[in-house]
C-alpha cells in the first residue's frame, strides 16, 4: 500500500492529529488499564515512526512507570498510549474516519477480554504471557 497521511480528531474537534499510514494495521488491547480507560479495549493505529502531528489541549495521565495515556481535556476522548521515553506513541484508531481504512491484525491480552464479548476474525491473538514476553523482548533488544 502506498503511504498516505490521514487526519483525525477527537470527539469535540479541539485536538487534531495526523499520521502517515503505510501498513493499515489496527491493534486492540484488552489489558485492564486499556479496558477501564476506553469502556472495552484500546484500538490503535499503526503509523510511520516520526510522522505524527498533534495539536490542541491534550492531557496525559501517567498510567505506569513507562507509559502515558493521552486524552482531550475538553471532551475526554482517548488519544493515545505512549512510552514516557518518547520511543513511540500509538494513536487511537477512533480518531480517524473509518479507522483510517485500517484493519484489525492483532489483539493483546486476549485472556483479559471480558467473557461477554469478543472480536471476530482470524487475526493474531496474544495472551498476557505472550504480550509481556513480546514487549520485554523488544525492550531487551533496544
Amino acid at each position: 500500500m502506498a503511504e498516505k497521511r490521514y487526519t483525525g480528531s477527537c470527539l469535540c474537534g479541539a485536538v487534531t492529529v495526523t499520521g502517515v499510514v503505510d501498513k493499515p494495521i489496527i491493534r486492540a488491547c484488552h489489558c485492564e488499564m486499556c479496558r477501564r480507560h476506553t469502556s472495552s479495549m484500546f484500538m490503535s493505529l499503526e503509523t510511520v515512526p516520526g510522522s505524527q502531528t498533534v495539536e490542541g489541549p491534550a492531557k496525559e495521565y501517567e498510567s505506569s512507570d513507562w507509559a502515558n495515556r493521552g486524552f482531550c481535556e475538553e471532551c475526554g476522548s482517548t488519544l493515545w498510549y505512549a512510552m514516557k521515553n518518547g520511543a513511540w506513541r500509538n494513536l487511537a484508531a477512533g480518531l480517524f474516519e473509518n479507522a483510517a481504512d485500517s484493519s484489525l491484525k492483532l489483539e493483546f491480552f486476549t485472556d483479559m477480554c471480558p467473557q461477554g464479548y469478543a472480536l471476530s476474525g482470524g487475526h493474531q491473538k496474544m495472551t498476557t504471557q505472550e504480550t509481556i514476553a513480546m514487549f520485554t523482548g523488544a525492550g531487551d533488544q533496544e
Partner: protein, 139 residues
C-alpha cells in the same frame, strides 16, 4: 455493582436495568473511546458515583462524562426530560460486570476493519435517530 476508572479517582456503584451490554459505533463514541462505547443501561435511581467527573454536552439529547484525572470513559447520559438514563462504561467493572453483548447500534457507522463476534441485535443510524426523535416528541 461497584466499579472504578483507571486511576481510581472516580468510583461508581450501579444497578443495571438488565444483564445486557450494548455497543455504540456512532462517530462520536468511536472518536471518544478509540473504537466503540460498550456499556450497560442504568436508570438515575440505580446510579451512584463519586470523584472528579467532567462532562460535555455532545448533542441536543445527550452528554458524555469522563474522569478529569485519567481521562477514562465513564458514561453516556441521555438528558431528555423524563427519559434520562445512563449508558455506563462496561470497562469500569471487572469482567464487564459479568454481562454479555446483545446489541450493537449505529452499526452502519462501524469502521470496516473490525467487528464483534456473534449475532447481536443491530440498529442503524437512521433507526437510532428515529428513536431519539420520538423521545424528544414526548416532552
Amino acid at each position: 455493582m461497584k466499579g472504578q476508572c483507571l486511576c481510581g479517582a472516580v468510583t461508581v456503584d450501579v444497578t443495571p436495568i438488565d444483564s445486557e451490554l450494548h455497543a455504540c459505533h456512532c462517530g462520536m463514541c468511536r472518536a471518544w473511546t478509540s473504537s466503540a462505547l460498550v456499556g450497560m443501561a442504568v436508570s438515575p435511581d440505580g446510579m451512584k458515583f463519586d470523584g472528579p467527573v467532567k462532562s460535555r454536552t455532545t448533542s441536543d439529547w445527550a452528554a458524555r462524562d469522563w474522569c478529569d484525572n485519567c481521562g477514562s470513559t465513564l458514561w453516556y447520559r441521555v438528558t431528555i426530560p423524563d427519559h434520562e438514563f445512563y449508558h455506563v462504561s462496561a470497562g469500569l467493572f471487572a469482567n464487564a460486570g459479568g454481562l454479555a453483548l446483545t446489541k450493537e447500534i449505529f452499526i452502519d457507522r462501524k469502521p470496516s476493519g473490525y467487528a464483534f463476534a456473534g449475532d447481536h441485535e443491530l440498529k442503524t443510524q437512521a433507526e437510532m435517530e428515529a428513536i431519539f426523535a420520538a423521545m424528544g416528541d414526548d416532552v
